[in-house]
Amino acid sequence: MTDQAHIEGWGRIPGPGVERFGENLDRLSEQPTLFRGLGRSYGDSSLPAASKPDVVNTTLADRVLAWDADTGVLRAEAGLSLYTMNRVFLPQGWFTPVSPGTQFVTLGGMVASDVHGKNHHVAGCFGQHVRALRMRVADGRVLEVTPTQHEDLFWATVGGMGWTGAILEVEVQLRAVSSPWIHQTTERVDNLADLVARLKEVSREWPMTMSWIDCLKRGKHMGRGIVYYGDWAKAEDAPAKFPPWSREITMPIDAPSWALNPLSMGLFNFGVYNSHVPKTKSGLVSPETFYYPLDMVRRWNRAYGLAGFTQYQCVIPDTAGIAAVVRFMEALTATGAASFLCVMKDCGPQGQGLLSFPMPGTSIAVDIPVKKDTAAIVAKLNALVIGVGGRIYLTKDRFTTPADFRAMEPRLDAFLEVRHRWDPERRFRSAQSVRMLGDPDLPGAA
C-alpha cells in the first residue's frame, strides 16, 4: 500500500511518508532528508520519521559516471540498481564484489546496510570494496568520503542505515569473474547439527556458501535442509554462450490471510526437501539461479497478505558453539511463528562498518508473518541472541526494542559519537532511528 501518504518496506507494514523522486540528488538533498532506494529493507529502515515525512527515492538517479573495463572500478549515482549492474557489467566479465539475495537493491542501499552475501567468509561485506562515497552531510556540504578522508564518517556510513548523511555517489571495485557461469553443488542434510557442521566445512573450501533449512520440522529431523556451495566456473569449463536472463513473473494480488498456514508451508518445505534427489547434485547454473531464486517472482512479498511480515535475522557467534545454534533453532521452531523460508549462512570476520551486521558465526534468517504476538516472539529470540553475545540485522528489523538493541550492540556508543560529530541535531533520521535510537520525533522538530 504505497500511496501518496504511506510508504512501506519489503515486509509491507506501512508508515506515514511521502516519496520525492528526481534525477538530481544534489538538488533533492539540499535540505537534509532521509534517502531510500528500492525499499528492499524489510522493516522501517527506509521509512521517514513521522515528524519529517519526506523521503528521497533515489531510483531515478541511476547513471554510471565512470567505468574502467580494465580495472573494474565503477563510479555511479546511488540509485543504480544491482539488476542493471549485472546486465551491463557481467557480460564484460565483472560482478559485484558482494551480492545480497536479491538484485532489486540500489548501490546506496547496499552501502547503508553494508550488505553481505554468500561469499562473506572470504570477501567480507560490500563496504569493504567501496573506494569512495560522495555524500551530503547535515551542515549542507557535499563531501568526498573515503577510507582515508573523513574516515570516521566513512565507516559510520557503511552499515549506518542512512543516519549519517545522504549517499549521492558510490565508487566500488567490482570483481573479475572467470566466466558468467557458476559451478554449484547442493547437498541434502537431514538434521541441524550436521547441517551447521557441514556448512562450516564447505565454507573452508568454497568461496560461496549458504543453506536453506526446513524450520517447521521438529524432532530428530529438526533443521534438516540443503547446503549450497559453489564458485565461478573456469572459462574452459563454462559454455561459450552467456547464461540467459530469466523472465520474471509478478505476484498479481495479495494472498488471502489463510493462504500461508502450517499445512501449506509444511507441504512446500516437504516438497523442496524431498524433491532434492540424489542427496548431492552438481552442475553449472546461471548467476540468477544461484544468487536470486526469489527474484523469479516479482512482488512475492504479497504472498503474506495485507498484514505483512518481518524477517528475523541474527548471528550466533562461533564462540557460543554449535550447541547455541541448535538451542536457538529449537526455540524458533517452538514459537511456531516461522514460515517456510529460513536461510543459514556462515559469517567471516567482523568488518569495519561501525554498525555492520556480520561477525564470525552463523547467521540465521527467517520470515515471520505478522500477528498479534510478533513483538513478543522477537523479544524472546532477542533474549537468546543477547545471551550468547550475538546481534540482529537492522535492515530486516521492525520489532526490536531500544533496550535490546543496546544490549546486543557494544559498538553503539562509538557510532553515536561519530554521528553526533557530523549531525548533532540528528537531521538524518528515519522511523527506525526514532524507534531504536530515540531520535526526536515531535511535530515541528527541525
Binding site: 501518496q4 520525492r20 523522486f21 534525477e23 531515478l60 554510471v64 559516471l65 565512470a66 567505468w67 551491463v88
Partner: protein, 245 residues
C-alpha cells in the same frame, strides 16, 4: 545510425538513448545543462558500444542556440541519420493558471521552440537526402481536457505540425515519427497519482525505437493509450464538462 538527441538527460529520453547506445548507434547529446550532459554521456559510454557521445549546449527556450548546435553535432557525427526530441516541460493546469509566466515559458518551449528546432533539424536532415525526425508530443494534445488545458494546447499544436511535416516531406525522404505518450512514470509525473495503464520508460522506449526503425508516422505509448484516447475523443462535450479527466 548517427543520432542527434535533445532530452537524453532524463526520463524517456534517457531510456531511449540507452537502448540506442546499447545496440551501437552513435549519439550526440544536446541540452541546457553542461554537468547533466557530461553525466549522461559517461553513462551512455559505459553502457554502449560506440564510445562516449559528444555533447553540445542547446536550450529550447533560446532559438539562437539551435542552428550552431545542430551544425556542430552534424559535423562531429559526420552527418545525421536521425534527430530525436524528447525535451519538454510539464505543469499541472492549476500550477500553470497560478503562474502565467511559467505557462508562457512552457508554451514557448513545448511549441514555438520545438517547432523551430525541428525546422533546423529538418533542413540538416534533408540536406543529406533525408532521415528520421522523432519528436515526443502527448496524448494531452488529442482533446481539450480539464487537467491539461495549457500543456495540452502546446502539444496539440506540436502534433498538428508533425503531422503536416509527414504529409509534406515524406516523399522527399524525411520520415517524421510523432510519439504520443500516455502517463509514463518519470520525474515529470512524479508526485502525480498514476492512472490505470501508467507506463514505464523502458518499454515505452522499446516501442519508440521500433517505430523509428519502421518509420511509423504516429504512435501511442504504452499501446493501451491508443484505445483510451479513441474513447475520450468520442465523448460528447456535455460529458467532457462533467468528468474530471
Amino acid at each position: 545510425m548517427n543520432v542527434l538527441f535533445l532530452g537524453a538527460t532524463r526520463g524517456m529520453g534517457r531510456a531511449l538513448a540507452r537502448q540506442m547506445a546499447a545496440r551501437g548507434d552513435q549519439l550526440y547529446l544536446l541540452g541546457r545543462d553542461e554537468d547533466q550532459l557530461a553525466r549522461s554521456a559517461a553513462d551512455l559510454a559505459a553502457r554502449g558500444k560506440a564510445g562516449a557521445p559528444g555533447v553540445g549546449m542547446c536550450d529550447l527556450g533560446d532559438p539562437t542556440t539551435f542552428e550552431p548546435a545542430i551544425a556542430e553535432a552534424s559535423a562531429a557525427l559526420g552527418g545525421l541519420d536521425c534527430v530525436v526530441v524528447t525535451a519538454g516541460l510539464f505543469g499541472t493546469q492549476d500550477a500553470l493558471e497560478d503562474d502565467l509566466d511559467r505557462a508562457y515559458t512552457l508554451l514557448q518551449v513545448n511549441f514555438a521552440g520545438t517547432v523551430v528546432f525541428c525546422e533546423h533539424a529538418r533542413r540538416a536532415l534533408m540536406a543529406k537526402g533525408g532521415g528520421t525526425l522523432c519528436v515526443f508530443s502527448s496524448v494531452a494534445g488529442d482533446r481539450g481536457r480539464k487537467p491539461v488545458g495549457i500543456y495540452g494546447a502546446s502539444k496539440a499544436g506540436l502534433s498538428a505540425y508533425l503531422e503536416a511535416l509527414d504529409h509534406r516531406y515524406r516523399a522527399d525522404g524525411l520520415v517524421t515519427v510523432c510519439v504520443k505518450p500516455g502517463f509514463v512514470k518519470t520525474g515529470m509525473t512524479a508526485g502525480l497519482k498514476p492512472p490505470p495503464f501508467a507506463g514505464e520508460p523502458e518499454p515505452v522506449a522499446r516501442r519508440v525505437l521500433k517505430a523509428i526503425d519502421r518509420g511509423t508516422p504516429m504512435i501511442y505509448a504504452p499501446f493501451m493509450w491508443r484505445w483510451v484516447m479513441f474513447v475520450i475523443k468520442l465523448l460528447p462535450r456535455f460529458v467532457m464538462r462533467k468528468v474530471g479527466f
